[in-house]
């Protein structure tokens, strides 16, 4: 009687709850993995964005530097132009 009960219980216990818990656990584990991947991906993406963010200002700074360089080069010429065209400046 005892072993039968035990085996029955054991079987009953193993089959249904294991299936449920296993599928449940798998699902949870799978979700956790995907969640982890998503979070990791988001972190990686945010890291990429934060890396890209300095790239844009650098480009703008370069443009400003180029313009400033041009203006420095033209400064002497512009000064002469203003002096030579005193009637309109």
């Amino acid at each position: 009687m005892m072993p039968r009960e035990l085996t029955n219980r054991a079987l009953a216990a193993t089959s249904l709850p294991m299936q449920i818990t296993q599928t449940g656990k798998r699902g949870l584990a799978g979700r956790r993995v995907t969640l982890g991947l998503l979070v990791g991906g988001a972190l990686a993406l945010s890291a990429c964005v934060s890396v890209n963010a300095p790239d844009k200002p650098i480009v703008i700074e370069l443009n400003i530097n180029i313009k400033q360089e041009v203006i420095y080069k033209l400064a002497a010429d512009a000064g002469n132009t203003i002096e030579e065209n005193g009637d309109i400046f």
Binding site: D77, I82, F89
Partner: protein
């Protein structure tokens, strides 16, 4: 109380001297510039603050202009653009780049009492101090 005033005067005197020195230096620079004289109407409009120098290298209006003042300033601006275009081509730059460069210089050469536009777009009356120039302008 008097001590404070004297200290303030002592503090401000060097700045005033520097400002006066800068103004004199600018006057000395602009003195030989008058190879061609300004038209009296233009000179009067400048002195009265009816027209002012803008950072873009052209004349602007600090206050709504009369029809005559507007016509005169627009005529001068067209002539300026022609000169800018010619000099820009000679220097391999764009008209805008040359005009902005000239704008820096034109604002730097304003004399006390004349109007100029600051980088933020506000119109200011030139005093003895250095004018507010855009960040792109060389230190004039």
């Amino acid at each position: 109380m008097f001590k404070d005033l004297r200290n303030q005067a002592l503090k401000h005197r060097p700045m005033a001297l520097v400002g006066a020195g800068a103004a004199l230096a600018l006057l000395a620079l602009s003195a030989p510039a008058s190879a061609q004289q300004r038209d009296p109407a233009y000179a009067a409009a400048r002195a009265a603050g009816q027209v002012g120098e803008m950072p873009n290298g052209y004349l602007g209006f600090p206050t709504p202009p009369s029809a005559d003042v507007r016509r005169m300033a627009e005529d001068i601006n067209i002539k300026r653009k022609a000169v800018y275009a010619q000099r820009a081509q000679a220097n391999g730059s764009t008209i805008e780049e040359y005009a902005i460069t000239a704008g820096c210089q034109a604002i730097a050469r304003t004399v006390p009492g004349e109007k100029y536009q600051a980088p933020d777009g506000s119109w200011r009356t030139r005093g003895a101090e250095k004018p507010v120039l855009g960040s792109l302008c060389p230190d004039l």
